[in-house]
Symmetry: C2
Subunit: 448 residues, 2 copies
């Protein structure tokens, strides 16, 4: 060990500058969730393995970090935040419904690590349990929309589809239920490989050409037309599940309008599938177009998951924001406001010499009492060393109190960005510091 | 599974009311840490097992949740936040020193669960790496003091000792190094079993009576005297490590005075030992006396732990607050301020009927835009049902808009605590809501 201290691949340390940004992002999302009345929930990292397994599909089960605990129980680290929520709802039937909860926290997956894919990563989930109506679906879409706007994203698309439409297509084509997943796995790649690629893949899976033609015909809708729904209604409206799916999406879009989600942020996309087995109704995916980071959010209605975990069924709908990719891009593009600095410390009070330590500590105490994050130099080294520390840490202001200043009842306030210094009366220090902090924040803003 | 959804023993779900309180407590602690310039750090839950093992002693190693991951690596869930910090410092030598960091997060220990002891629990740690001086020790003690004051605790004792004094006692008594731990294990129980009990235990361990007499003589200091240090100086000051330990504690107490920690909150206690192997200098323990919850914080100087994990040594000192017991007592005694409600939602906007939904959603949007956490009733059920939901969730205010109110441009604001209703002009709604929220918070306060 001694030679090479290391973290596991796919796991990360978040050093202070990065943590401050993460914390800011999480606070923005949390504030939006709470604005809509979603309540915080936290569940343990470790769950009984039987709670985790068999919910997200066989591929997902392989990625669960599982082991036997010291009591011989088969346990695992949570794979997502949705299954623990369903377990909570099943365990506490007394929770008032609708139960609107959010959870922001890490999940673990034994994925092959690659750029942007981690083995420990945060999810931000907002779900509503106990409400079967489309207003609930519209609300989870709206909080995701608002969270992204709050974080500064202005160009993204909320793709909307309905599992019922997907089922209706299967019915129309008379594809046996067990072969439907093959169909959708190919469709899911439409954006990447185009209709010709989808056709090739389906031929290889043994579908006959006329079925494939019908499928592509049904799903070939203009990408951005306002009347996708009426086209789909023409093609699937005579099948009961198709009619129901279309009716639900119409209602959902109507609510999104009332909830002030602009229509040009949403798009009905019959080729959007989502991987998870447990969805039963509307499904959502959010693709950020500028900057071009792709899919960063997914969700949908899952009316049978709670029933898998306990004795009672409860309808549910939710959405999940992938925090890591959002933070990566907010960091790269400097999207956070200037007051999100790379250090929490606003002022370093230097210590001129041991005799001046009491003065420096008293100044620090008065700044802290006024709510200003303040460090005192811990080693009485040369002043240059102390100022260099402030510089390396990007602390915006330093205070210097030498014997002359102490005698005169003043301090020197040094702007660490410009190097400018000003003498300030002790009594006027708080105001001067506040003003100087505002200036450095503005300077940071204009430097971007 | 289906019959009995459950969590593992010693693990907990935090339902919303509890989570809101937890979040408030964590925010208070975080704010104090940042006020002193401690920076946030986050490390993964999973570490290489060789990082975790051999740092906290053999008993601790047995409690690590360990397993083989899918790549056959021996890994474990972190046991504390100190060892991961040391690993981070060893891995990133470029971090500016002193490196002042805090970390607030869960750790896992396969303990036998009992009241107040959990297998997953939060620690709140503040540490300073790279500063050998006693000002650093004083600062970590001060942040713990300030955090407890911030949380409303007014009666607690910060016990202070020094591992160097403990070693000096061993030297004085000529006890072989390998038998010193037996000595201290018995001393550690002094408060519980008294000097007679300590004597009995040491006799059983094979110490001879004259050694025991000398030991008890050295450690028998008045519990609350101001001159414990000078007594100890008389007894141990001729041994170099003893003199050094006393000098350090004098310096530490002097800094605590300058840092405005009142002297009646601190006590030098030569019988306070702390379990951890890695301490090398001053050690701390905080005992809350009112309410009587006992030890809730520990820490000390550990100058060799970083060197155990990497090629370079770095002096370090830190303190850890046990969050769970603090939250338990803050909850039981209702120590949180009244604005920490049991729900995040401040207003429920009811939906009178489907025709009034647009009105209700518009009102909700305007409240949210003004920063008020607002729910809209998701199901258009009878008004009584909707109000009962607000009551069960302790939402303080409800808004009702029927056809008459809609026509008159007014809404009804109902105080869910008193049942009182008032008609408010739409244009005056925001002000009325703010005022009513303040009232319900004050009412909550006076009801305590």
């Amino acid at each position: 060990m001694k030679a090479t201290p290391q973290v596991l691949k796919g796991m990360r340390d978040f050093l202070p500058a990065r943590m401050i940004l993460r914390h800011w992002v999480i606070e923005q999302v949390r504030r939006v969730f709470e604005r809509f009345g979603f309540e915080p929930l936290e569940t343990p990292a470790i769950e009984y393995l039987e709670v985790l397994e068999g919910k997200n599909g066989a591929e997902a089960d392989k990625l669960i970090y599982s082991f036997e605990d010291r009591g011989g129980r088969r346990v695992g680290l949570r794979y997502d935040l949705t299954v623990p929520l369903a377990r909570v709802v099943a365990m506490y039937p007394e929770l008032p419904k609708p139960f609107k909860r959010y959870q922001i926290g890490p999940v673990w997956r034994a994925e092959r690590p690659q750029r942007g894919r981690y083995r420990e990563f945060y999810q931000c989930d907002a779900d509503i349990v106990g409400s079967p109506g489309m207003l609930a679906d519209a609300e989870v879409v709206t909080v995701a929309y608002q969270a992204l706007r709050q974080l500064g994203f202005t160009r993204f698309q909320i793709l909307i589809n309905n599992r019922k439409l997907i089922q209706a297509v299967g019915t129309r084509l008379a594809v046996p239920a067990e072969r439907v997943p093959l169909l959708w796995r190919a469709i899911d790649k439409w954006e990447k490989i185009g209709p010709a690629g989808v056709r090739a893949e389906l031929l290889e899976s043994g579908f006959d050409p006329s079925t494939i033609d019908s499928l592509l015909g049904i799903l070939d809708v203009p990408a951005d037309t306002a009347d996708t729904l009426s086209i789909l209604s023409d093609r699937l409206g005579d099948i009961p599940l198709g009619a129901e799916g279309i009716r639900e999406l119409k209602e959902l879009l109507g609510y999104l309008d009332l909830l002030e989600v602009p229509a040009d942020f949403t798009r009905v996309d019959p080729r959007m599938v989502r991987g998870l087995d447990y969805y039963t109704g509307p499904i959502f995916e959010i693709v950020v177009e500028e900057p071009r980071i792709g899919s960063i959010s997914g969700g949908g209605r899952y009316d049978h998951l709670v029933g898998l975990l306990g004795p009672v069924e409860a309808p549910a709908v939710g959405i999940s924001l992938g925090l890591e990719r959002l933070i990566d891009v907010i960091d790269e593009l400097g999207m956070a406001p200037a007051e999100v600095r790379s250090t929490v410390t606003e002022v370093l009070v230097t210590v001129f010499d041991r005799e001046r330590l009491a003065s420096s500590l008293a100044i620090a105490a008065s700044l802290r009492a006024a709510g200003i994050n303040t460090e005192v130099a811990l080693e009485t080294e040369k002043l240059g060393h102390q100022l260099r520390y402030a510089g390396r840490k990007n602390i915006p202001l330093a205070i210097i109190v030498g014997p002359d200043e102490e005698a005169a009842g003043v301090v020197i306030v040094r702007n660490m960005v410009t190097g400018q210094q000003e003498r300030v009366e002790r009594g006027a220090l708080l105001g001067a510091i506040q003003e100087a902090l505002d200036e450095t924040a503005e300077a940071g803003l204009s430097a971007d």
